[in-house]
């Protein structure tokens, strides 16, 4: 513990007083938000391979469910694209699980750990924390999803038939953005009302898999499927991606053409981001006014 080690860095601003140090220009503000996103995504990216249990929980278990449906479709001699539908559904489950457990429930865990207070007390916007969580989660889940896609496709001999690569990539990205946008909204909602976040997360798994048609074409659900497509990015994204990845046969089981579903995803993304921002503001206001949410142990 030497005095020399405490040398003040740029933030010491020995020539600046506290009032000058507190006045940031636009460039400083934007740079801080971007760095905060990088900072918050770091634990997810750095920790990606530090807990090998994810191979079991996030790849093997979902893979078993996917395999069960593959065998059922084969036994029923369903059209071959159904196997591809299930594999694609299995891939998207990796993202949905990440959204549910590491986005929707995250602020709740952060509050329990005492991180939330520190985030609020730091000079960055809380949206940057959510963006960082989403970006890190996206990178993290992409590795898992890629493993499921490659292994399942090879194992079950899935033949893709893509005619609009650009649109497929765009729809995939839009689906992810909308999914994580929804996750950002849920994060605040869960914190506000989610006393039992474990149960809420469970609720968001099987029912969502079902109404989103993770293992079958969603139009088989009729009105319920249409509702899901209109509200859940997982449902509409999957429907669009199936049409684009299995051009021709999948069109017969689709709700809307992929271009229309892509537009729907854009709308969802914008709405979710707006809602997430609004919810965060509401949450912070409530926390400051009532002394709840950010007060540990309360």
């Amino acid at each position: 513990m030497s005095t020399a080690s405490w040398a003040v860095g740029r933030h010491g601003r020995s020539s600046q007083g506290p009032r000058e140090a507190a006045t940031w220009d636009r460039r400083q503000i934007i740079a801080t938000e971007l760095r905060a996103i990088r900072g918050r995504s770091y634990p997810r990216i750095a920790g990606m391979f530090r807990e090998p249990s994810w191979i079991f929980f996030e790849i093997l278990l979902p893979f078993l469910t996917t395999s069960a449906f593959v065998f059922v479709y084969r036994a029923l001699q369903a059209p071959p694209q159904y196997v591809g539908f299930v594999v694609l559904g299995g891939v998207m489950i990796a993202f949905w699980l990440n959204v549910v457990w590491l986005m929707a429930g995250q602020l709740y865990w952060e509050k329990d750990q005492g991180n939330l207070e520190l985030y609020f007390a730091a000079p960055m916007d809380m949206m940057s924390v959510l963006f960082g969580m989403a970006f890190g989660g996206l990178i993290m889940s992409s590795t898992r999803a890629a493993v499921v896609l490659v292994v399942a496709s090879v194992l079950y001999g899935v033949v893709f038939s893509v005619q609009q690569w650009l649109l497929l990539v765009a729809v995939f990205l839009l689906t992810l953005f909308a999914l994580y946008g929804l996750g950002m909204v849920l994060a605040s909602l869960f914190l506000l009302w989610g006393r039992e976040v474990w149960h809420l997360n469970q609720l968001l798994q099987e029912p969502v898999y079902f109404v989103s048609g993770v293992n079958f074409p969603v139009n088989r659900l009729g009105l319920l499927g249409a509702l899901a497509v209109a509200t859940l990015p997982l449902a509409v994204g999957l429907d669009a991606m199936r049409q684009l990845a299995f051009a021709g046969p999948a069109a017969a089981t689709a709700f809307l053409p992929p271009e229309g579903e892509a537009a729907l995803l854009v709308v969802m993304m914008v709405v979710f981001l707006f809602l997430a921002r609004t919810m965060l503001r509401l949450m912070e206001r409530l926390a400051r006014r009532e002394g709840r949410l950010t007060v540990r142990g309360r």
Binding site: M1, T3, P18, A22, W24, A36, G39, R40, Y42, P123
Partner: protein, 356 residues
């Protein structure tokens, strides 16, 4: 320049007054609760000058944490005002957040799977340091707080004391102009608490002009660390001053403990001296006669009307052929001050109702 006791360091130059670091006026915070609302802060008026290490001392439920939460912009006051370096805690939160940091005792912040360096770097990003600046600052702090190889250890493997050192380092990351420390040694063993206190002092000495507001319910901590202390209870400030000044409030007399060699006359011989109120034999535990040296040493506790009486006592002892081997002035503790102000000790107050 020696400051008068109780004067804040910022009061050094009256012609060029510095900006006040922390200022609250009639600050009040009421929590809605059933069956009745809880008044956590009830009209707090406080001025902390830049560069000051100011302590809030009070039992659990006194309102210390509530005050810190308001000053760190996490909580709104119900009424009154609070400013940090002139910035209002209600409307100018961003400005305050850019120049302050906070560390709480027993804090479990961060992510267990990260290494200590990584965790600190992550937090540096929230304060806008560039990636390289962040790593540089982290390495500096890791060295300063005495992390060796532990810097590459996962956070989840740290002991409570090590974790609090890391939390402190996190608090220093942005070289804050105001550092809020909420019970920073809570739950630490004696050694770890001493390390934390040393780090706080070192940082303040090395980075001049920084203000620290520390809450504690450990008397010795407030006494050792703080330049000025506010004693709080039930949302009110009962007294403010330097520890010595506060203690003098409850001690009108001067109390000394003497150790004398070859003193055959006994304490009664001193009790009759002018200005000596009482002179009694000190307990065996308070004297060093049991050191095995074979010397005939007696301990005497003297209560004098004022300090000046001591010189007469020394002369008398010398004339009686005794030698003074030790002389110590006994001070009342801050708890004595609290008892004097509140009428009961911390433990009794904490056993009643309260809200922190």
């Amino acid at each position: 320049m020696k400051l008068p006791e109780g004067a804040a360091p910022g009061a050094r130059d009256a012609a060029n007054p510095p900006v006040v670091a922390i200022e609250t006026s009639a600050l009040r915070r009421v929590y809605s609760a059933k069956p009745r609302a809880i008044v956590a802060l009830d009209g707090i008026d406080l001025v902390v000058q830049p560069g000051e290490l100011f302590g809030l001392l009070g039992p659990n439920g006194a309102g210390k944490t509530t005050l810190i939460k308001i000053l760190t912009t996490l909580l709104l006051p119900t009424s009154g005002s609070a400013r940090v370096f002139g910035f209002d805690v209600v409307d100018e939160t961003k400005q305050i957040r850019r120049i302050m940091n906070m560390v709480a005792g027993g804090e479990q912040s961060g992510y267990g799977l990260l290494k200590v360096r990584e965790q600190l770097w992550m937090f540096s990003q929230f304060y806008g340091l560039t990636a390289a600046e962040g790593w540089r600052k982290v390495d500096q702090l890791v060295e300063a707080v005495g992390f060796g190889e532990q810097a590459e250890q996962k956070v989840s493997t740290l002991s409570t004391g090590e974790r609090q050192k890391m939390n402190l380092a996190r608090g220093f990351l942005n070289d804050p102009w105001v550092l809020f420390l909420d019970e920073p040694t809570l739950g630490l063993d004696v050694g770890a608490a001493r390390t934390v206190r040393t780090l706080i002092r070192e940082w303040q000495a090395a980075v001049p002009g920084r203000t620290i507001l520390l809450t504690t319910h450990y008397m010795a901590e407030a006494d050792q660390l703080c330049e000025r202390v506010a004693i709080v209870d039930r949302g009110r400030i009962l007294a403010i001053g330097t520890p010595a000044e506060l203690k003098r409030r409850v001690q009108k007399e001067s109390i000394f403990r003497l150790e004398l060699e070859n003193f055959a006359a006994g304490p009664r011989a001193l009790a009759d001296l002018p200005g000596v109120l009482t002179a009694v034999a000190a307990s065996a535990a308070d004297t060093s006669s049991g050191d095995g040296s074979g010397r005939d040493v007696v301990g005497i506790k003297l209560v004098l009307a004022e300090d000046a009486v001591l010189s007469g006592v020394v002369q008398a002892v010398t004339s009686m052929g005794a030698q003074i081997t030790a002389l110590q002035k006994s001070e009342p503790s801050l708890e004595d001050v609290f008892v004097e102000l509140v009428g009961q000790g911390f433990a009794e107050v904490e056993s009643g109702e309260g809200q922190s």
